[in-house]
């Protein structure tokens, strides 16, 4: 072994790592080399320290903690900072949310629904609280099935040579084929005389209410007290009095509905005149109309329901409408 090689064994002296051959070579060289001897003398303190087993164990424990590589250190740094950044992000988000709640609360808009606008499509909407709940009662259904109510017989039309004479007999000649319980049906529409239109509606159009005229159906039974206009309408439907039908045509349908709802009493009306004679007002007063005001050819006032027919018969009266 060369002297330089022996010098490199110096590190094994303190830890007792040297073999017998290495020890002999090292010490024999140290006897000849003062620098190596001095180095060995300086190593003696470390050697004495490392002879203690406790010291060796402590150093081994310190060496057991392997130093982290740059990847491990980078991973630790990343994780440590990631946790910190996540905490900061959560804190900032929470603060922002709280600040928004405090400073940017939008004004409350109170929407008052005046009318429900729900649309029931095929009964998809649940029943509302106001709608009475229908409870299916099996017993009542059985009783109803055992004693079915008497249903009115449908109108039967005798076969005639043509549809027009049969239609005219049914509606003009006092409904001989209609059953007594069946209510009369009248077709009323402002415009020309209903009876005349009914007469024009040959081929059964009048029953369906089609054509150029609108339809308003009034149903009344014979034992119910019917106001005069309604009776007049029934007469119009029967075709017995053509003149009366002419007067009823002047009455506005809304007034007819109002009169039907009132039954009796006085109704506020507005009468439109044309080509009124000098004694038109007197004739109106005689017919039962109480004049409240006059503006041009329109008179406003009130009239008893029973006398509405008489006013409508006046020739200069062209329209009677509610006020």
């Amino acid at each position: 072994m060369s002297r330089d090689q022996v010098r490199k064994m110096l590190g094994g002296y303190a830890t007792g790592t040297l073999t017998e051959e290495e020890r002999r070579a090292l010490f024999e060289t140290a006897l000849e080399d003062q620098q190596l001897f001095d180095a060995l003398a300086q190593e003696q303190s470390l050697r004495d320290l490392l002879r203690d087993p406790a010291v060796k164990a402590q150093l081994l424990a310190a060496l057991g903690e392997a130093p982290a590589t740059w990847r491990q250190r980078a991973a630790r740094w990343m994780w440590g900072h990631a946790v910190g950044l996540a905490a900061v992000a959560c804190f900032v988000t929470l603060c922002g949310y709280m600040a928004r709640q405090v400073h940017f609360t939008p004004p409350r808009v109170v929407v008052v629904a005046t009318q429900p606008t729900t649309v029931d499509v095929n009964g998809s909407l649940p029943p509302g609280p106001a709608r009475p709940q229908r409870i299916f009662d099996l017993e009542s259904v059985k009783k109803a099935a055992a004693h079915p109510p008497a249903m009115p017989m449908p109108p039967s039309f005798k076969p005639t040579s043509g549809p027009a004479p049969a239609f005219e007999r049914a509606f003009v000649v006092g409904r001989p084929e209609l059953p007594q319980s069946l209510a009369a049906t009248a077709l009323v529409r402002a415009g020309p005389v209903v009876a005349g239109q009914l007469g024009q509606a040959r081929g059964g159009r009048g029953g369906g209410g089609g054509g150029p005229v609108g339809v308003a159906a009034l149903v009344a039974t014979p034992d119910v007290a019917v106001p005069a206009p309604v009776a007049l309408l029934r007469a119009q439907a029967a075709g017995t009095t053509v003149s009366a039908a002419k007067g009823t045509a002047k009455i506005d349908p809304s007034l007819l509905a109002l009169v039907q709802g009132m039954g009796s009493g006085e109704a506020p009306v507005r009468i439109t005149l044309t080509d009124a004679p000098a004694d038109a007002l007197d004739q109106l007063r005689k017919a039962g109309f109480t004049i409240a005001s006059q503006e041009g050819n329109e008179l406003t006032g009130h009239i008893a329901v029973e006398k509405l027919d008489a006013v409508a018969q006046l020739a200069f009266v062209i329209r009677i409408a509610p006020q």
Binding site: T17, T19, D38, L49
Partner: protein
């Protein structure tokens, strides 16, 4: 006393005298040579750390101890480590005596603490401080040096370390250990013991 066997000269009989010639008791001569060289090295080393007279005293006391208590040791690999340890203790003792005598700083005799013969707190503190410095310095070494020192502390020899670390030659391990020791010594300030500058 051990005797070294030497080859007998050719032509001599194998009688008792011949045996006496074969077992040539040359140990004292070799031991004297080893001790002489040791004295020379010890004086030089101790003189570097103190005065020349103190160095002579350290060397003389060390050789006397080797001669009186360790007369059975004759090989250099036995005598030299022992002499190094004795020298270290002698030098430390001289320093403490110098401090007590006030050679470095004069103090009142009443301020000098009495020595505790049962324990030595100074040695304990010195060892503790040295261990702390060594632990901190070891932690700053590279992975190879740490592994090398770990194996050395586990009692592995250099050939075993060579196999474990997969080095091609034993000289590679020597070189690695030399560099690691040098780096470790630099990390500790150039001295193993604390307070030495």
């Amino acid at each position: 006393m051990h005797a070294s066997i030497r080859n007998s000269p050719p032509g001599e009989s194998e009688t008792g005298s011949a045996v006496r010639r074969c077992y040539d008791f040359t140990e004292p001569v070799e031991r004297e040579e080893v001790l002489a060289k040791l004295r020379e090295r010890i004086v030089a080393f101790a003189a570097f750390h103190g005065s020349r007279d103190a160095a002579e005293d350290v060397a003389q006391e060390t050789l006397m101890l080797l001669h009186e208590k360790y007369a059975h040791l004759e090989r250099p690999e036995d005598l030299l480590p022992l002499s190094l340890q004795i020298v270290r203790f002698k030098i430390m003792s001289l320093r403490r005596k110098a401090v007590r005598r006030g050679e470095y700083n004069q103090v009142s005799v009443t301020d000098i603490p009495l020595p505790d013969l049962d324990s030595n707190p100074a040695d304990y503190l010195e060892r503790k401080e040295m261990l702390e410095r060594l632990t901190a310095a070891v932690g700053q070494l590279g992975e190879r040096c740490r592994e090398l020192i770990r194996l050395k502390l586990q009692g592995k020899s250099f050939p075993e370390i060579q196999k474990i670390m997969g080095a091609a030659a034993i000289n590679t391990i020597y070189t690695w250990d030399h560099r690691c020791r040098k780096h470790l010594l630099e990390l500790m300030g150039g001295h193993w013991e604390p307070g030495k500058r």
